[in-house]
């Protein structure tokens, strides 16, 4: 049996679909220059992708065709040499189409493998999000704002080639940086991109993460039922009704919290979260009414609290709120729990309002999608600046 290499790309569905595909294809084509056959594929169970919902793409490469078949015998590799995470908020763990429960992003990476994260943060910050595990692994960062676009227009900001460069550094047995450059020059025909790849290669470094280091949270799971345990006729129980909940200050019941689907929570879809100022809220109802996910709990005060177990971060609430800075979408990576903001506010109003001051700040690159023609072209230079600095 020859050598078998596997790379998985964890990405935001739709927003990074093309980006992920470019990377896995690049791996296969680059490795091929070294005589290694390979395949690239998106996980079938993730299809159709939905905006923001985590998805996976794979590249399997082998030293020879027979060994490649070994890699192709499974739907997807459970152990990979490199895991690439294209948006650092994914480090909190992923719920996807295809799985039951929450999966850690480092679940698949081998003990001597590397987790590569596209992020502007430092490893210590990421390790507040990435779950701890029993085996070691290496962690490396490619400095980047998460590259997002959409179905029809692609934001060509060199993230794909930079990731290829980083992979070549983390795992040279898979492909050399020379092969990556050859692929870029031959197929993509861009020497600028080749330089970006080379720069990323040179800057990339990974640190050892020892067992037990990381986020202590236990990822939630649920067991799949046996066929005799399942109700017949492909039938499952529906959702019950919600009800009022307790005001921590008065101890009284009030407001309304809907029952929440505990099988798929959707919190891992978000890259930003709505931070709410309960003081300036005018109780106009618009955020609660217009949230497609019914995320808002109606507080006993009559204000609206985005339930962070379920919020997927679309930002419609911020857009429809008529009061300036009452709801502000903030980078999800800055937070490390899903506790109710309203409860924090009720327990310590002054503290909360102080906290708001430092927390609410404009996000430089909020858009994860198209807003106007020419937008991506305007955003690319900033991304290239970061790429140059590494």
């Amino acid at each position: 049996m020859g050598q078998l290499f596997a790379v998985e790309i964890i990405y935001r569905g739709v927003f990074q679909k093309t980006l992920a595909k470019n990377i896995t294809r690049g791996i296969v084509l680059a490795a091929h220059y070294e005589g290694k056959p390979g395949i690239s594929f998106g996980r079938y169970g993730d299809s159709p992708e939905r905006n923001g919902i985590p998805a996976k793409s794979f590249a399997i490469v082998a030293s020879d065709d027979l060994t490649l078949q070994l890699g192709m015998a499974h739907y997807e590799p459970t152990q990979v040499d490199v895991t690439v995470v294209l948006d650092d908020t994914l480090c909190k763990g992923i719920e996807s189409w295809a799985w039951a429960g929450l999966h850690a992003v480092n679940q698949g990476v081998k003990p001597d493998g590397t987790l590569i994260v596209a992020s502007l943060q430092e490893p210590e910050e990421l390790l507040q999000m990435i779950h701890r595990r029993e085996k070691p692994y290496k962690l490396g960062i490619v400095k980047a704002i998460a590259s997002f676009s959409g179905m029809w227009i692609y934001k060509d900001d060199h993230t794909d080639v930079r990731i290829l460069g980083a992979i070549a550094k983390a795992f040279p047995e898979l492909m050399s940086i020379e092969s990556v450059e050859k692929y870029i020059n031959t197929k993509l025909k861009s020497s600028l991109k080749a330089t970006s790849a080379r720069t990323a290669y040179e800057r990339f470094g990974a640190i050892e993460i020892e067992p037990g280091r990381g986020n202590a949270e236990e990822p939630f799971q649920f067991e799949l039922l046996k066929w005799e345990e399942m109700r017949e006729g492909a039938t499952i129980k529906g959702q019950p009704q919600g009800g009022p909940y307790t005001d921590p200050v008065t101890g009284k019941l009030g407001g309304f919290r809907p029952a929440r689907n505990d099988k798929f929570r959707k919190a891992t879809t978000r890259t930003t979260r709505p931070v709410v100022n309960f003081e300036t809220c005018t109780k106009c109802t618009l955020c609660w009414l217009n949230c497609p996910d019914g995320t808002f709990d109606v507080t006993p005060d009559g204000t609206y609290d985005a339930n962070l177990e379920t919020c997927c971060g679309c930002g419609i609430c911020e857009a429809v709120c008529p009061v300036e800075n009452c709801i502000t979408m903030v980078n999800e990576a800055e937070f490390h729990d899903n506790n109710s903001q309203w409860l924090s506010y009720k327990k310590d109003k002054e503290g909360y309002l102080q906290w708001l001051k430092t927390t609410i700040h404009p996000i430089e690159q909020r858009s994860y999608g198209f807003r106007y023609r020419g937008q991506y072209a305007e955003q690319v230079p900033a991304a290239l600046e970061i790429a140059k600095k590494g």
Partner: protein, 342 residues
């Protein structure tokens, strides 16, 4: 109405008298696997909220099937069942007929149960149009067909349907090296088709997710008025239309304010425009240029000025040349040179 029509009583769902009167109960809760900013999910939520607990929902194949219910996971707080892509109309009839027979025979408690079948534009304007049409001719059965229109087959990763707008980029109509515009067809005018073709249907309406209160009240009216009813919702799709999810509500408003998506109800044959559509029709508000709407979406990013002009002309026609502006495309006068031969 003919004396041979036997309509059962419906629930008396009064309109919500303002956003503060909208009840808190959710019958379509969080945790569905839809895109961020999915307005189709939003109309599901509003529909379930408007209908209340004495309801069954039948969901035709589409985004609102596949995304909302993955086996073992569901967001529905009312009974819900899958039906086939083109079967919203027939399934709704079947449910209504069953309840009627069983209640009449004393086999089931006699009470008004809301029967709602939803379908996407693929399942409504394309495949399921015949079944919906048939359902609309049955005055004895109380049911609502809600067509949520995201102007594409969304669940299969975006392809054109009969309601897709002219020139749109989808995976079956990609602009290419030789053909920039692959989709030459104009959006089907579905609500007026239902109105004009089914004289005994008492209620047809168009709604928008950017008008949530009116949307819910239209649904409540449809469920209360009796007989088969039809509602066509335009719900912007951040994935297929390619725009930042955050501006979904804004896009919905632009569709109305440009005159592209007129809002109206037809109740017992009487047409009533509402919202900004009414303002536009009465001359109190100018229509925004369609460009403001089109160029905020990646699916139109390939449009040239010529394409935008063409689109604008067609929308101008809707308002300036149609017999009932925005609604019925018969001409007020035939243009010179277009008279049929004597």
């Amino acid at each position: 109405m003919s004396t041979f029509v036997e309509q059962k009583p419906t629930q008396n769902l009064e309109p919500f008298k303002g956003v503060k009167k909208v009840p808190f109960e959710e019958y379509f809760t969080s945790g569905h696997r839809t895109c961020e900013g999915c307005e189709s999910a939003q109309i599901m939520r509003l529909m379930a909220k408007a209908a209340g607990p004495r309801t069954i929902v039948i969901g035709a194949t589409g985004c609102m099937y596949v995304a909302n219910t993955s086996y073992y996971s569901t967001s529905w707080g009312v009974p819900w069942i899958h039906t086939q892509l083109g079967a919203a109309g027939s399934s709704a009839l079947g449910a209504a007929a069953a309840y009627r027979a069983l209640m009449r025979k004393g086999a089931m408690k006699d009470e008004p149960i809301n029967v709602i079948a939803f379908c996407g534009d693929g399942g409504g304007a394309d495949m399921g149009l015949a079944a919906i049409s048939a359902a609309m001719t049955h005055p004895d059965y109380n049911l609502l067909i809600l067509m949520y229109d995201n102007e594409e087959y969304g669940n299969t990763d975006i392809q054109i349907s009969g309601t897709s707008p002219y020139g749109v980029n989808t995976s079956f109509s990609t602009p290419g090296k030789v053909k920039r515009i692959m989709h030459h067809r104009w959006k089907k005018n579905v609500a007026p088709l239902i109105v004009a073709g089914h004289p005994t249907c008492k209620y047809v309406a168009t709604i928008s997710t950017s008008y949530p209160l009116q949307a819910m009240n239209a649904i409540r009216r449809a469920l209360s008025i009796g007989g088969p009813t039809f509602i066509h919702c335009l719900n912007p799709c951040p994935k297929g239309w390619d725009f930042d999810p955050e501006i979904a509500y804004e896009i919905g408003n632009l569709a109305v304010n440009t005159g592209i998506w007129p809002l109206y109800e037809v109740e017992n044959g009487a047409l009533k425009l509402y919202g900004k559509t009414k303002q536009i029709a009465e001359g109190n508000q100018k229509r925004l240029p369609v460009q403001d709407y089109l160029l905020k979406q990646g699916r139109f990013a390939h449009f040239t000025d010529e394409d935008i002009r063409f689109f604008q002309e067609k929308v101008d026609e809707m308002w300036e040349k149609w017999l009932i502006p925005g609604v019925i495309p018969l001409r007020k006068e035939v243009e010179a040179g277009l008279l049929p031969a004597d």
